[in-house]
């Protein structure tokens, strides 16, 4: 679908841009396909040229010339600093503690940042069978900062996940510390309406909204009584030059936008 030049940002463009702002130059990122990949490429173009991208397929220090169509793509290999087996990715990179930032999304998320990508309904007798964890569970356990990128609705932001594939700050009442998880847990949930942070108890709190969105609207789109920060900031939006970069250079075929 073509977007007119000069048109304002779409929800996906807002999310990709907002996610890119979370990345610092030099961060070692475990990159997922889709918006996270786009957010990383955008960060590299704008403020983080030294972003170090690792893919679960084995590419380390990847610099793909095209936007990868799947998590394993030949363009991830060409020009990488290293290509290693998946055993090395999960043991030597992730479990060893080298990953600063992980990205996850899912079918459901709850107020503690627990994510479900496994089933809707009962696991033994599911209403919908989803793909499952992949590397998501271990990314959630080990990444020092976890960014959750998801569109917001009452169907996806739920009181309680049908299945916790990837643990957040609190699972069945127990904290990450009590459970012995080495990573820092979710730092932000970046949505199409605004941004949620986590307070000291590990509960999600609305801290930012996009222009034209009210906190009340966000609360209406959330399946639990969402806490709202005393001061809610306005998220920065991608300006015309960022939109041109996204539309013309980074995702011209609009694979993910």
């Amino acid at each position: 679908m073509a977007i007119e030049t000069g048109a304002g940002p779409t929800a996906s463009e807002r999310m990709a841009y907002r996610a890119s702002q979370e990345l610092r130059d030099g961060d070692v990122v475990f990159v997922g396909i889709g918006l996270p990949n786009l957010a990383c490429n955008l960060a590299r173009e704008i403020h983080a040229p030294g972003l170090f991208m690792i893919y679960e397929s084995g590419a380390v220090g990847a610099m793909p010339e095209r936007l990868p169509v799947s998590i394993g793509d030949p363009s991830l290999v060409t020009n990488s600093l290293a290509v290693v087996g998946q055993a090395d990715i999960f043991q030597c990179m992730l479990q060893r503690g080298l990953i600063e930032v992980g990205f996850l999304g899912g079918a459901q998320v709850d107020r503690w940042g627990n994510i479900n990508t496994t089933v809707i309904g009962d696991h033994a007798n599911p209403k919908v069978r989803l793909p499952g964890s992949g590397g998501a569970c271990e990314i959630a356990v080990h990444a020092r900062r976890l960014l959750i990128v998801m569109r917001m609705s009452r169907r996806t932001f739920v009181e309680s996940c049908d299945f916790v594939t990837s643990p957040g700050h609190r699972v069945n009442g127990r904290s990450r510390e009590e459970l012995g998880m080495p990573g820092g847990g979710p730092t932000r949930i970046i949505t199409d309406l605004g941004v949620l942070d986590f307070d000291t108890t590990g509960e999600a709190v609305l801290t930012e909204v996009y222009p034209g969105v009210t906190p009340e609207q966000v609360r209406q789109s959330c399946g639990w009584p969402l806490r709202v920060a005393e001061t809610v900031r306005q998220s920065t939006e991608p300006d015309a030059s960022v939109l041109t970069l996204l539309r013309e250079k980074l995702d011209p075929k609009r694979l993910y936008l």
Partner: protein, 302 residues
Amino acid sequence: MNKLCSMKEAIASSVRNGGSLVIDGFTHLICFAAGHEIIRQGFRDLTAIRLTPDLVYDQLIEAGAVRKLVFSWAGNPGVGSLHALRRRSEASSAERLELEEYSHFGLLSRLMAGSAGLPFWPLSNYQGGDIARVNPAIKTVQCPYTGRQLATVPALHPDVAIIHCQRADREGNAQVWGLLGSQKEAAFAARKVIVVAEEIVSTELIRRDPNRTLVPGIIVSHVVHEPWGCHPSFVQGFHDRDNDFYVKWEDISRQPETYRAWLEEFVYGVKDRQGYLSRLESGLLDKLRAKARICEGVDYGY
């Protein structure tokens, strides 16, 4: 020893009804040709193992070859669902597939234990969440040195591993570059290994670049020469992923009727891989063929 044989012979003499197998490859080097031959030979009740069962595993399921799936991510990568799997695993399904589910790291650890000759593998994972709750094979152990609690998974020994590679000699010394997946772990964990190669080369050529050998011939029982055996998956240095096919597959596989028609035309309706390739649209293979990116090579002198 010359282990070169046809795909038909390799599958017929290795796969057994009720046995377990892994056709490895992580988006890269997925041997569709082997899966199709298994379907044609009518095997039943297989335990199909792979981190990322994708289209070819879904085809095995649709064809009725699979009783149990051991996996960690099941989907059409970058596109959508596996529809035969969903039809056999959701609440409404009549004939249910048995599922044993891990995360990538967990299932890979099972293969690592198998490949290393150990009974189990420890990992720092599953401290919170439901994966270990629904899978009794995931247990815990206390580290005897630090007292830390770790998750464990049991060794996995697939009866057969099918490993596609860029090149191999007739003894099965297999050289791989690009994404390596869990091919090495799957091969060493398995009881029997079939190597499938884009090119059969001399042992002398293998010896010129020994660091490139991922699977040594001593654990390989059969070698099959099957160029383009991975289509629509890709082979670094040979051909790109046929992404259009993965996108089209969503429509082909959503309805059982169109799914069956596709299997009739491209699997049951052909004798072998050559037959499959001849039914692809003309010009497609040329379009997918890789553009060269040669590396300089290294000096092994001393």
